[in-house]
């Protein structure tokens, strides 16, 4: 089960970043390579994993991704909260406003809703872990592009933190993959 700790994992700041960034950042909230996809993918895959290591790492990284989801939400919240409707329209957030006012929602940068089609659980541990490696690399790349899109040093700093987390997750999934492959090879010895 889950317990919520009432604090952000990282002190997230938006500095004087452009409101347009909210439109781009939302892809890490509800987009294909975002934190919701990561959290739901890992927390779901863990049920069909064969070893304690993989159940553990998927649970723990999946849980951390929920904390990252909260950081993205915080960045978007801070960017839009004091914006006028005219400013939101000018920043390309008019459509979002029509559907949601300043509420957050699980969509990509174009407003397409999140879908379970972004994730998979094949039931084969190797396939699932390799998907997780790819997911972490794609998330890392997305944070790179978001860092490119902003000039603001505070926002770059938080995005860089999230980027580095993906590198660490990749390493852990890689180690879990190695252990699962060893486990499978050992089972074949009669």
């Amino acid at each position: 089960m889950w317990i919520y700790e009432k604090k952000l994992q990282y002190p997230a700041k938006v500095g004087r970043a452009n409101l347009k960034m909210a439109k781009y950042l939302i892809t890490q909230y509800g987009g294909p390579d975002g934190e919701l996809s990561a959290a739901l993918r890992y927390l779901n895959q863990r049920y069909s994993m064969p070893t304690n290591v993989t159940k553990g790492i998927l649970t723990d990284i999946g849980t951390e991704e929920l904390a990252h989801l909260e950081i993205i939400a915080t960045l978007v919240y801070k960017l839009v909260k004091d914006a006028s409707v005219a400013e939101l329209k000018a920043a390309g957030l008019g459509s979002h406003y029509a559907d949601h006012d300043r509420a957050l929602f699980y969509v990509d940068a174009e407003g397409n809703p999140w879908t379970a089609a972004y994730i998979q659980a094949k039931g084969d541990p190797v396939a699932d872990l390799i998907e997780d490696l790819a997911a972490e690399k794609k998330a890392e790349a997305t944070y790179q592009w978001l860092i490119d899109l902003t000039d603001d040093p505070d926002l770059k700093d938080t995005l860089n933190y999230l980027r580095v987390r993906e590198i660490v997750h990749f390493q852990r999934f890689g180690e879990a993959l190695d252990l699962v492959q060893e486990h499978q090879a050992a089972k074949k010895i009669f």
């Binding site: 190797v126 490696l133 860089n160 999934f173 890689g174």
Partner: protein, 52 residues
């Protein structure tokens, strides 16, 4: 320095080398960097630096 252990690498499989814990950054520095492990840190050089 992480050594690559002597193992049999099979064809048709992917491998990521195992990390060996040596040092870690102190807590506040680690938080700011995004990891406690210096060997896992990789900086990102933005678009302008990458081109050409």
């Amino acid at each position: 320095m992480n050594e690559i252990p002597q193992v049999i690498l099979r064809l048709g499989q992917a491998y990521v080398p195992f990390q060996v814990y040596v040092n870690r950054w102190e807590p506040m520095k680690a938080l700011m960097m995004g990891t406690i492990f210096p060997e896992l840190y990789r900086p990102y050089y933005s678009e302008e630096h990458r081109r050409g």
